[in-house]
Amino acid sequence: MSIQLSGLRAWTIQRISAIYIALFTLAVMVAVLFNGMPEDHQAWRALLSSPFINLSVMAFFLALLLHAWVGARDVIIDYVHPLGARFTVLALAAVFLIVCGLWAARLLLNLF
């Protein structure tokens, strides 16, 4: 399996995604402090339709889901010991994150 997320690869993806998410979040925090939140639906649309913002948010969701998967996997493996239960909870977490990812992708692609 070359796409499995474990060991050093998971560790590396966790850190790289963490750095992107942290920079993105800090940028959003600074923007909210200085500009406030978008005031109405037109402002939200305009914001998320700008290609730079749209792509940054898309990359954010990709990084978020990878980061969430590695973190959830660590937590589940630490606390859920019976193999059947562990497999079930891991599968539920994977489906949950993939559905979130597809949902966010549809939302952002519609605005691109």
Partner: protein, 126 residues
């Protein structure tokens, strides 16, 4: 390997006194899990915000409810704690602040900065 079986075990969670860096660590986990559970709500609100004025007003009404604000406060704290503690871990990864004394001081710093950030942004969203 037999000797490992005789190690003393002390796993009474109500009596273990976790050092401060340990508390930062367990809260890093809890805040991470809380935020994962909040992801669908984030996307849902984002979708409402861009789906027309009526939907936007629905989202604004949801965001105005006390229940939402309490949940948002928990998630906001989760974000601030996870972010600040996460930066601390990234620094520890590259051997910055790895000594016990510094590690304990930076754990205090995580609480101070993350709670201050939470209060600051609570003022913005409340």
């Amino acid at each position: 390997m037999n000797s490992t079986l005789k190690r003393p075990r002390f796993l009474d969670l109500t009596k273990i006194r976790l050092p401060l860096p340990g508390i930062v660590s367990i809260l890093h986990r809890i805040s991470g899990v809380l935020m994962i559970l909040a992801i669908p709500f984030l996307i849902w609100l984002l979708e409402l915000a861009v789906s027309g004025q009526a939907a936007y007003e629905q989202a604004a009404a949801v965001a105005d409810s006390l229940l939402f604000k309490l949940a948002a406060a928990v998630i906001l704290w989760s974000l601030c704690h996870h972010l600040v503690a996460g930066i601390r871990y990234l620094l520890l990864d590259i051997d910055i602040g790895i000594e016990r004394k510094q590690a304990r001081q930076s754990a205090v710093g995580v609480f101070v900065i993350s709670i201050a950030l939470t209060i600051l942004f609570l003022g913005v969203i409340w």
